[in-house]
Amino acid sequence: MKMKKFASVLLAGAMVATMAGCTSDDTTTTTTTDTNTNTTTTTTDTNTTTTDGEKTNLTMWCIATESDSNRHSYEAAIADVTAAHPEINFTWEAFENESYKTKIKAAVAADEMPDIFFTWSCAFLGDFVDAGRVYCLDDAYAKVKDELPESMMGNSTYNGKHYGVPLTMNIVGLFANMDLLKSVGYDDIPGTYEDFIACCDALKAADIIPFGCAGKETWCVTEYLESVIEKSVGYEALNDIFLARASWANDDVAAAVDTFQSLVVNGYFDPNGDGLSNDEIKANFMAGKYAFYMNGTWNCADFAANEEFFPKVKVGEFPVINADKATLGQLIGGPSDTLAVAASSPNAAVAADFTFELGRLICKYGYLDGCGLPAWAVNYDDSEVNGLTKTVAAITAKANGYVLFGDTAMAADDADAYLKEVAMVYGCEVDGKTFVEDLAAAIR
């Protein structure tokens, strides 16, 4: 009986000890599954920052997985910066984009973030800043101000304080398959909206689908819709709405939404796109199924890497629809990809300086790879940058106004309501009037 009692006490004790062990936050073994590549990597790291002799441990989470086009720029930047700082023991992990959003929110809620973390600017980072979880980077920024213009810091500045290090910036580009356009008599991307529509009609008559858009991923629809709205009502009006300075109840926006919907109703979009993902649509575009593809300019790297497709593709700006309110040079996009430092990091000041240095290098290699435009000053040879990215750089050089992607600019619950309405517009369930009325009621 004593033996039985002893065994039960031992078992219960072991169980309690195991559970207590689970809550320890000294060391964690993290397993990350990258669903994009179906590979699993396991890394062991110290989740808290410690000073090991003279070395300072810093950890970072980001979304540059093996299949991410930014992977190389992260690897190259990390190799450079760690070589320059042997006193820092740097560990980093990459997570798949969608799961990362959940992971970082949970980590912020539990105040168990790594020292440095990837984030999206504006509302996404704003929630973390409001909760007091992000380290203010004003002091570190003062040291690199000459290389990083204040205008690039705007999306991660809250109440006049800087909380993020911008990496690359991207805009929505109108990519065109010039082989298909030439087949209907167009040597260039049409410059006016009337020409653009005439081109779409010519393509349709030749049995070529003008646009490819992933209906399964609503953010892809917003790339088209936001461009149409911006080129109809002007960037200032759209910015005011996205940043909640003005109501959605706007007749011009309703008319612009109807304009977008007329493109859908006229059959310019691939109807099969309703059931396809963005990767599948992009593959179809590269295979010559669509004449146009409106998406982020981060795609330049993939297009440039495809030797067969690269000579056929051209990038341009969506034409102006209402010249009284909008002009060329009003663009959708801006610096959104950002690195931030956790306020809970014991070495936050070191991490802040390290993050700026890392951010500058990620920006450099990302730009050279064609993954985006530089948010930082270019003080290196960029002659090897691919032609598409250079065209995008030329477009942004003439830019006179930016509107950040709506789902990034808006707070999460507003963005959710917005995306649901966008899906309904694309699905022809609501018209422009209902769209603005619904959003005016949902977003106050």
Binding site: L11, V265, P271, G275, G427, C428, E429
Partner: protein, 320 residues
């Protein structure tokens, strides 16, 4: 003296029982009861998951049925799945279990083959079915375009039907040439349910097979000697004997349908066209940052699963 010894022994036994139960009890509390309690607490708050909470009472429970959240249609979809699971998936599983339980040639191989989908990761199954559902070149489209009824292929018939439905929308959609199986509201739900039903046939089959195998062979033999056919043996001997397992299978099928998430999420990404309560909950919590509303849905799901389990138990009890 003897009485005191007996009492001490009883107390010692009770302490032992308690100590043996303690680990399971701790796990049960930490993994199940406390999270449910916390979900109940969060469901009464307005909370974005990071900042301060604000007590809002039952507002979140009212909100979940609004158009903006849309739990009502999601529950309806889950109930359809539960009905299909009970009246399509389980009979198929039972049929297979009875067939294999009879002892046919290659029993083990068939058992492994039917159970294999349960072992494969749902993400992998999702990717597999995504290829099957690919419009135009996908296996389903190719297959259905090959079968013709009255000179018209089955796929063309479905396309015509969807186009007719779309023509009735407030703003008529341009006609489809192929069926975007996962991208329209008329086929997406069914396309999500088919792989779910297919995947778990093997699971229920295995449970039922174990039950069938546990039926004493003497009963079968006696029935055979009395001249009973296989169908009669199954109907009057095997099925009544495995009723408790059938009850468990029905409970698993119904509660599993209410909780279904992963395959639907993989297949339709942003599952507006095929919402179920779990996808609505995920969207509210992790896309819209409405942890209060998400927790309210979680609590309602728990209650729904519990209620359905009780109803099923009551039905089976009444039958007995």
């Amino acid at each position: 003296m003897e009485g005191i010894k007996l009492m001490n022994k009883k107390i010692t036994n009770r302490i032992n029982v308690f100590l043996f139960l303690l680990p399971a009890l701790v796990l049960f509390l930490v993994i199940l009861i406390i999270p449910i309690g916390l979900s109940g607490y969060y469901s009464l708050q307005e909370w974005n998951g990071i900042g301060a909470m604000k007590f809002v009472g039952i507002e979140n429970y009212k909100k979940v049925f609004s158009d903006s959240v849309g739990l009502g249609p999601a529950i309806r979809n889950s109930i359809i799945l539960a009905i299909l699971s009970t009246f399509v998936q389980l009979p198929v599983s039972l049929g297979l279990a009875l067939l294999l339980g009879k002892g046919i040639k290659g029993e083990r191989i068939f058992l492994s083959v039917f159970f294999m989908p349960v072992l494969i990761s749902t993400v992998v199954i999702g990717q597999l079915w995504l290829k099957i559902y690919y419009p135009e070149q996908g296996m389903l489209s190719v297959l259905l375009s090959g079968f013709k009824i009255g000179g018209k292929s089955i796929e063309d018939g479905i396309v015509s039907w969807i186009n007719n439905m779309n023509a009735k929308l407030p703003i008529p959609k341009p006609p489809y040439k192929n069926v975007p199986w996962l991208g329209n509201q008329y086929t997406a739900l069914a396309c999500c349910f088919i792989p779910i039903l297919w995947q778990y046939v093997g699971y229920h089959m295995l449970l039922l097979y174990a039950g069938v195998k546990s039926v004493p062979p003497e009963l079968r033999e006696a029935a055979k000697i009395d001249g009973a056919t296989d169908g009669q043996i199954n109907k009057y001997i095997v099925i009544p004997q495995i009723k408790p397992i059938i009850k468990i299978c029905v409970i698993f099928a119904v509660t599993g349908s209410l909780k279904s998430f992963d395959l639907i999420y993989v297949l339709v990404a942003k599952p507006k066209v095929a919402d179920v309560p779990s996808t609505v909950m995920y969207n509210e919590m992790f896309s819209a940052n409405n942890y209060g509303t998400g927790s309210a849905i979680a609590v309602m799901l728990i209650v729904l699963c519990f209620v359905f389990a009780m109803i099923i138990s009551a039905i089976f009890k009444k039958e007995d």
